[in-house]
């Protein structure tokens, strides 16, 4: 993992992060790309579900829930708070 990057499941609720890479491959990678999770896409972390997983994310105008299993395969960089 490159310095400064964390996986999306580690990003706290309320933060916004930039996609820096996907560590999945094959079908799952394709699905993530189809969601619009390409390089430098901004993702806003909304909230976790009542039992802690999955988490809802705001991605390119849509709200998508990802299980931490999938989110842990997305490398991101937390955006500084403006």
């Amino acid at each position: 993992m490159e310095a400064g990057y964390i996986t999306l499941n580690m990003a706290p609720s309320g933060s916004t992060a930039k996609v820096k890479g996907l560590t999945s491959n094959g079908n799952i990678r394709r699905r993530m790309l189809d969601l619009g999770l390409v390089m430098n896409t901004d993702v806003e972390v909304l909230q976790k579900s009542p039992s802690g997983d999955p988490t809802a994310y705001h991605i390119r105008g849509a709200v998508i829930a990802l299980r931490s299993e999938e989110a842990s395969k997305i490398l991101v960089e937390i955006n500084p708070i403006v």
Binding site: T41, D53, V63
Partner: protein, 714 residues
């Protein structure tokens, strides 16, 4: 048993690409779009068909088709599965892609959500790569206006190179313009100039090498640029379909494979994942640019209300209590509201019976014919209608209201972790919800789950939520043994709690059995899935009432009546044909008695469940009919009379609870099993779907009865 794609059956979706070109002069139009953008509403408005629309992804899985006329032409509209992409990473996507590409539609309409354009452009752009003849229908313009999202339709059309029509399908706005645009594109009056995405240099260079060969080989029958792209990104599924379509294997052609290989080398060692990244990035970035140039948001936080609602409905603290509370309110309204209309309808129908009796007497009909038709068939039918119609007429609109608001995906979101722990699919929560309406519908709904393993788990366990045919049994028993015993408003409150307890138990058993299945016969880890939480929509209350009463309640009732009438006839015969001292029904009941006792039931009750196989809603009528010495259903003039009848036949609270438990957990009804056979394509899995709930019910009822007896609670 081996899990093969054949035995688990998404194959049923992959019905060969039938274009449906019926007559000359008839146009075939493909209707594509993301899930949940009102695609089905557009389909229904144009064709006049009533296909149920739902606010969750994947409602349309097979290709539904309908006709309409416009101008001098006839159009066949093919509703293809709602997808976010055409990359064929799921069966639905493959079906959608194959139809657009090989179904030879005269035009493809892509329905997009105006409130979420950037995401929807992904599908639009992918479609434009496959075919030139596209019309973009930007639906939900009313919602966009409400959120102050301004879209420059003219500029969007210029950028995309195809007609863009703004619509609000629910109110019919923009539909005439849409039909006109479809007509113009189909007859070729409008020549489209679809946007061609320029990809990364490396991809473009590879394309230049491969495409000319493919163009020659396919003779322009398919879009060679797009096929080349798919080959560069190493999409193997397209090759199979192409082989079927063209009649030969492209990879056997040495020129193509040679060019492909050198093109791949030209990608400087980038593997197919890398190539795909570049291609998808090209599409996503193009979508972002178009979105930025054509859409202006007056309020940056246009979604803030949705987020606020979500922060309550899916919050850690309130999420699950609110969910249970909503369920409780729906049940309470159904239970409390259904009482009075039930009585009115019963009074009316039994009045008609009196008239029928008078008629039969006047006509001098023989006694057996009167018994058969009136006391057998008519009474069962009357019972089913008066007991089932009011709860359904209340329950369905309320449930549809939640659906239309967009709440069901939130239920899936709240419950996902439980399903994850059971190694099942998150969307199983959705198919479970569909099961409340009808388990057969729930089983069909399981098509939204791609993984064959998880799909089977969802199918096998769907029966653990009480369907609409079983609610009347539960409601009747609760009303007789609980509601009627506790006075006033408090009675319906306690009844609601009991009904909720049953439903929660059903959900718990669903999870438990799912977990057991995925650790035994259907071993495996949960597959990846993404769940969209669509924007909340303002529901159209009047439409919901009309639609859910007409389309759902009457449909289910019609089915029940179709089964109840002949069943009533058979029951009457069984109860009236005597061998020796007892009727056939009694013989059966006596035979079942010892086993039924172990489950806290009696022989007649178990017999009723067995005869009720075609439709669960006739279980209570059969029990009552069996108890009546006259051999037909008594008049349901009061719940107290009914209670006394049951008590005099040895019912205790244990019997009541056992009947409810067994009603929740026993074999699926005939229709559901038949649907399971069709969906799984396997007699083995159908048998398992029969055995799992049956054995679960037997074990739980047996244990419960034992414990009650051991603790001397009765």
């Amino acid at each position: 048993m081996v899990l093969t794609s054949r035995s688990t059956g998404p194959g049923v979706l992959r019905n060969s690409i039938n274009t449906g070109h019926e007559a000359a002069g008839t146009f075939t139009i493909a209707l594509a779009g993301n899930p949940n953008v009102g695609k089905s509403t557009i389909f229904n408005s144009l064709t006049g068909l009533r296909q149920h629309t739902g606010n969750w992804p994947g409602k349309t899985v097979a290709n539904a088709r309908g006709k309409y006329r416009y101008g001098d032409r006839e159009f066949i509209l093919v509703d293809i599965p709602g997808t976010y992409s055409l990359s064929a990473s799921s069966v639905e996507e493959e079906v959608a892609r194959d139809f657009i590409c090989f179904g030879e539609p005269d035009a493809t309409v892509v329905v997009a959500d105006a409130t979420c354009l950037e995401r929807n452009l992904n599908l639009v752009l992918q479609t434009l790569e496959i075919t030139d003849r596209v019309v973009v229908c930007l639906n939900l313009m009313d919602e966009a206006e409400r959120k102050h999202i301004r879209i420059d339709l003219k500029k969007l059309a210029e950028k995309l190179g195809v007609p863009v029509i703004g619509t609000s399908a629910r109110s019919g706005r923009g539909l005439p313009e849409l039909m006109e645009a479809i007509y113009s594109v189909a007859v070729g009056r409008i020549k489209t100039k679809p946007l061609r995405i320029t990809y990364d240099d490396i991809i473009e260079k590879a394309l230049k090498r491969v495409e000319p060969y493919l163009f020659n080989l396919t003779g322009g029958k398919v879009n060679s640029r797009w096929v080349s792209l798919k080959m560069i990104e190493g999409d193997s599924s397209i090759l199979n379909t192409l082989q079927e379509y063209l009649g030969y294997d492209l990879l056997k052609d040495r020129d193509v494979t040679g060019e492909l290989r050198s093109a791949r080398q030209g990608l400087w060692g980038i593997n197919s994942d890398g190539a795909r990244d570049m291609i998808v990035s090209g599409i996503v970035n193009t979508a972002e640019n178009i979105f930025r140039d054509t859409v202006s948001l007056e309020h940056r936080d246009y979604n803030s209300l949705d987020r606020k609602i979500d922060s309550i409905l899916t919050s850690r603290i309130y999420g699950i209590p609110v969910m249970i509370g909503l369920l409780g309110v729906i049940f309470w309204l159904t239970l409390a509201g259904a009482n009075y209309p039930s009585e009115v309808i019963a009074a009316f129908l039994f009045h008609i019976e009196d008239l029928l009796t008078a008629f039969f007497t006047w006509a001098g009909a023989p006694q057996w014919l009167y018994g058969l038709l009136v006391r057998g068939m008519y009474r069962t039918l009357a019972w089913v209608v008066s007991v089932m119609l009011p709860p359904m007429a209340i329950f369905f609109p309320l449930f549809t209201l939640l659906e239309d608001l967009g709440y069901l995906p939130r239920i899936a979101f709240n419950l996902d972790n439980f399903f994850n722990k059971a190694c099942a699919h998150g969307k199983q929560a959705l198919t479970m919800c569909m099961g409340f309406g009808c388990n057969a519908a729930g089983v069909v709904g399981c098509r939204i789950i791609d993984s064959p393993r998880e799909r089977l788990i969802a199918i096998i366990t769907n029966n653990f939520v009480p369907c609409n045919g079983r609610f009347p049994t539960l409601i009747a028993i609760i009303a007789i043994f609980i509601g009627g015993r506790v006075p006033g408003v408090f009675g319906s409150f306690v009844s609601t709690l009991v009904l909720m307890g049953i439903v929660v138990l059903g959900v718990a058993v669903t999870l438990l059995v799912s977990a057991i299945l995925s650790r035994t016969v259907l071993r495996g880890v949960p597959s990846s899935f993404t769940l969209e939480l669509p924007p909340y929509r303002r529901p159209q209350v009047w439409r919901i009432i009309v639609r859910s009463v007409l389309d759902r309640a009457l449909f289910v009732l019609g089915r029940a009546a179709a089964v109840a009438a002949p069943a009533g006839l058979i029951i009457w015969l069984l109860a009236n044909i005597k061998i020796g001292e007892y009727s056939l029904l009694s013989h059966g009941a006596l035979f079942l008695e010892p086993f039924a006792r172990l489950l806290g039931l009696d022989g007649y009750i178990l017999m009723a469940f067995i005869i009720g196989f075609p439709a669960n809603e006739i279980v209570m009528p059969i029990i009552i009919m069996s108890y009546m010495s006259t051999g037909s259903i008594l008049e349901l003039d009061s719940l107290e009379a009914l209670r006394q009848l049951l008590v005099s036949h040895g019912w205790t609270w244990l019997t009541a609870v056992s009947v409810m438990l067994f009603s929740l957990m026993h074999w699926p009804c005939g229709t559901t099993l038949w649907t399971i056979r069709k969906e799984t394509g396997s007699a083995g899995w159908t048998l398992i779907s029969f055995l799992v709930p049956t054995l679960t019910g037997i074990i739980i009822c047996f244990t419960f009865a034992r414990v009650v007896h051991l603790l001397r609670l009765i």
